[in-house]
């Protein structure tokens, strides 16, 4: 095979020195080693990602409809998709709904940003100091498994029924995952790369900037993704438990719908909560894949 390539490269008229020819032969070898590009077309990729999702949605709707048709509950207690989606549509067209979404998302963003700040500081410190690691390492993992709703009684005592109470629980829910992602990333920086960095003279801040942080980025993003899931759950629990004055949030809408026995509205809000959670999770998924692809971690 290699002979074919070299002769093909020899074909153009000889102009350069023998060195040039060697260069060209090497280029031929390298081209062989690299092989052809295997970039699948975007359309094809989107389709192969989209159809299982679409199928899952169809199956879920069918199951829901089947339960309704079975006559297990009266239709006003458990309405079917055909009664619910018009209600969802009306909701989406109302300004009250969007105000609620805006408030909830504002809390989510603030809470998540604070979680990142806390997670990075705690994770950074713990990954740095062995004493802190021994003291807090397993505590952080323990916090991760603690159901965030268990924090609410304390949060309400500390902060009354306020935004702070909700944020407190969101941060406690999300920050441990983010901290753990960072700690794991720092821990699993490949030792051979650390040695290479040392030979280059990377030390202190430079070591972090050029080696440890980029090396731990994939693990950190995985931590963010998990942290988001916890933040979103904690936020929804908080909005159901901590209802502040006349504010309108998705949680408030949800509990009002329950009080009014408006099941179709309730299910609409649940669908919205689910969709927002999935969308943001997908966003992190995209980020995660982009980084893993860049780092060459994709198989």
């Amino acid at each position: 095979m290699a002979h074919d390539t070299t002769s093909r490269h020899d074909a153009p008229p000889e102009t350069g020195a023998p060195g040039d020819r060697l260069n060209r032969e090497l280029a031929g070898l390298d081209a062989l080693e690299l092989g052809g590009g295997t970039g699948r077309r975007l359309l094809q990729r989107t389709w192969s990602a989209a159809w299982p999702m679409a199928a899952a949605v169809v199956i879920a709707l069918a199951a829901w409809q089947a339960v309704v048709w079975s006559g297990w509950k009266e239709p006003w207690v458990l309405p079917g998709p055909r009664d619910t989606f018009p209600v969802l549509w009306d909701q989406v067209a109302s300004s009250r709904f969007w105000k609620a979404v805006a408030l909830t998302m504002q809390r989510a963003i603030i809470g998540f940003a604070m979680s990142i700040a806390v997670g990075v500081v705690v994770g950074g410190l713990v990954s740095q100091f062995r004493v802190l690691r021994r003291a807090f390492g397993s505590l952080i993992t323990g916090l991760q498994t603690m159901p965030s709703i268990a924090w609410f009684p304390l949060a309400i005592l500390l902060f009354k029924l306020s935004e702070s109470a909700i944020l407190f629980v969101v941060v406690l829910g999300a920050a441990p995952s983010i901290a753990n992602g960072l700690i794991a990333g720092v821990d699993y920086t490949p030792p051979i790369l650390l040695r290479a960095g040392k030979v280059m003279g990377l030390r202190g801040l430079n070591l972090y900037r050029h080696l440890v942080l980029p090396a731990s980025l994939p693990s950190f993003v995985a931590g963010l993704k998990q942290g988001w899931a916890f933040a979103w759950r904690s936020l929804m629990a908080g909005e159901l438990l901590v209802i502040i004055g006349s504010t309108t949030s998705l949680g408030v809408l949800l509990s009002q719908a329950r009080e009014l026995n408006a099941t179709a509205d309730m299910i609409s809000y649940m669908i919205v909560i689910l969709v927002i959670g999935i969308l943001i999770d997908q966003l992190f998924g995209v980020l995660d894949r982009a980084i893993r692809g860049r780092w060459g971690l994709e198989d």
Partner: protein, 267 residues
């Protein structure tokens, strides 16, 4: 008195001086003596090839000289020289492009920003990878990654004043993953860089002919524990050809000695 006088010049005569260097791994129970009482002088500007069977402690030795590990006993004196090490694995940063990997090494050697890109391009050209600057390491083959690692190691021998004289370049089986043709080309290249920049090179290899092709001196190590068995000066003029009869004949002698050494373990 006389001792001090004779010792003084020989101190400056070695770029790297190992005296009774031992290295043991593991705890008291699982103790493994990788290197035992290795003494070796490498003169400034000398090209020394280290030869030995797999597992005899060659990488360990280079790591010690590079200051990545601590000796268990003995001393290593490099007179504060700048040391560059090319690992047995490419050890490139996967998040950086090929050129950025090299530019980072240049940055750490104090090369000002505007000069880095062109210097990196020159280095890549010298390992015949000019067209791959924008690729990421995982997009290259193993042999190509090794060549990038070589370019990066060469970048570490550079500094802003270009006073590379006195840099010690340690190379750990740099060409193990390469096909013969590429390897021959890089032999020429490494020899050129060594001569032009006045580097001191300590080059580890399994390949006896490669050692004879490149070295001023070939140092044979025994296995378990690693000791210096014998040193072979290489008298042939440069440039040598790896397939020349002179290289082949000295290589045959050294191979016999190596076989004898390995055979002692079978007995």
């Amino acid at each position: 008195m006389t001792e001090a006088v004779t010792a003084a010049p020989s101190r400056t005569a070695a770029a790297v001086r190992l005296r009774g260097v031992s290295k043991a791994f593991g705890s008291a129970k699982t103790r493994l003596l990788a290197l035992d009482q290795v003494s070796l002088d490498v003169a400034p500007g000398e090209f020394v090839c280290l030869l030995g069977a797999s597992g005899c402690g060659k990488s360990t030795l280079l790591n010690l000289v590079a200051g990545l590990d601590k000796v268990s006993a003995g001393t290593i004196d490099d007179g504060g020289a700048r040391v560059a090490l090319m690992f047995q694995e490419p050890a490139l940063f996967p998040w950086l492009t090929v050129t950025a990997n090299i530019e980072l090494a240049l940055k750490m050697r104090g090369v000002p920003r505007p000069d880095r890109r062109p210097r990196a391009a020159e280095l890549l050209d010298s390992v015949h990878l000019a067209g791959f600057a924008k690729k990421r390491p995982h997009q290259l083959s193993g042999g190509m990654r090794q060549r990038v690692a070589l370019a990066r190691a060469l970048a570490l021998t550079v500094d802003d004043t270009d006073a590379t004289q006195g840099t010690v370049l340690l190379m750990d089986e740099p060409f193990g993953a390469l096909d013969a043709m590429t390897r021959d080309l890089l032999h020429d290249e490494i020899e050129r860089v060594w001569r032009d920049r006045g580097l001191t090179v300590l080059f580890v290899t399994h390949n006896v002919r490669e050692a004879v092709r490149l070295g001023d001196r070939v140092v044979l190590l025994s296995s378990r524990p690693g000791r210096v068995v014998e040193e072979f000066p290489v008298p042939m003029d440069r440039p040598r050809r790896i397939d020349s009869p002179e290289v082949a004949s000295l290589a045959a002698t050294i191979t016999d000695r190596l076989r004898e050494e390995v055979g002692r373990h079978g007995a």
